[in-house]
Subunit: 248 residues, 2 copies
Amino acid sequence: MAQSNNVTPLFNDLAKIEHDHVACQDCSLYRLCLPLGLHNNDLTKLDEIITRSQNYKRGQSLFSEENSFKSLYVVRSGSFKTTISTSNGREQVTGFYFPGEFIGLDAIHHELYQSTAKALESSSVCELPYDRLQEIGKEMPQLQIQLLTRLSKELAGDKSLMLLLGKKTSKEKLATYLLSLSKRFHDRGFSATEFQLSMSRGDIANHLGLAVETVSRIFSRFQDEGLISLDGKAISLQEMDRLKALCG
Amino acid sequence: MAQSNNVTPLFNDLAKIEHDHVACQDCSLYRLCLPLGLHNNDLTKLDEIITRSQNYKRGQSLFSEENSFKSLYVVRSGSFKTTISTSNGREQVTGFYFPGEFIGLDAIHHELYQSTAKALESSSVCELPYDRLQEIGKEMPQLQIQLLTRLSKELAGDKSLMLLLGKKTSKEKLATYLLSLSKRFHDRGFSATEFQLSMSRGDIANHLGLAVETVSRIFSRFQDEGLISLDGKAISLQEMDRLKALCG
DNA sequence: CACACAAATTGATCTAGATCATGGATATAA
DNA sequence: TTATATCCATGATCTAGATCAATTTGTGTG
């Protein structure tokens, strides 16, 4: 059966991508993205250094661990995951990224990317070459502040994730995760209760420090209890309040 | 028995703190800290906005979750831990901070601190009021870049910690932790193999997502195997290579 | 210096969630 | 369309590390 269309679509349509060169001014992600608060002149300068990428297909890499760091990326449409690995090959999904969110911020201090970024579905990005960004940033304090704010936000998110990984039970982890997704969809103008999970159960499990089987079981349990309703990748949060209460 | 003196002292003596107003130029932490790369004029301006704090005693808070965000702090001497909590009171130690390291970076995007910072021993800090920092930052791109770099570095560290929390066994966690401490001591000009653990076993356990008892047992095991030698808070890493191999 | 309290160690037991195993559902490709 | 690989769900079993319990050691404080 084909995926039904009664839920929020994946993020493919969020940015206007008919033309490859939508200016930041005209981008529907404007208020979620870096340019917020920049004046027209500055915005134009920023526009000039941005490369709008071709599409990335599901599974395709934006960059890999140990590649040399060159650019930051902002998701324009679709979604990505980032991973890092131990020397003996175990992998941790460190984050999921949706339109308007930055990828690569953890590489700024380094010559090399610290993680691998892969598309979860057909996706596109804006590429910001870091050296040129620094150049124009010298005359745009507001841009620097935006960048700092971005980094700080991601940092705070990662600390919460540490709390989740270190101290929460499997149910609490899943409930917290679903509500975090919900909020991000809502912030992007979509339904807070009905959306598509672009990542696999395996990715979710890995990200939350669980086994796939555990995620499956808890999803089933949540369904039995009427908390959510799940049809493949389409999820609907039926009882936000009870979910919130489950977050710990 | 009193603590023996044959190991690296705690960080109390690292910064020259006889006078409350050591200029950044003269501070022994200079090369680890923010001012790196600033010119003399800029350095003087930075100096002017910094408040050097009185001492914080063991257990004393620098700030608490939900306090309004005002300043960033750099550890001058001693050490701190930061924690965040779930709504029902469970707590996660999100980080330990040593001289030259920044505390509060995750609050920049917010009105409120996202965590609580407590001294682990007698400690002191430099306080950087964030609004004034932004003010002078407008004319000091190098300062902004330093800040960005700091944030990025902490971000990368947190991602590694996610890998640790999500994918490593208890032994691997402890080995990884000890080597991370070792590196940070070494970077500060101290022995990479002999130092004092200023944090309790409980703090370590919490930070690594383990129970205290587990940490105790693994420390004992590591001792039996000749990997480390432990006397209260004083630790000596006897076999760095084997420890490295244990990190996963 | 001795009291009281907090931190650490060690052993015994228990359990949340991992791992193993199987079958069904989905997706991709020729 | 069928082949083939991957993903997902669910049951049975196992185990790493948590929890509980009892000492021991360390550490402020009057």
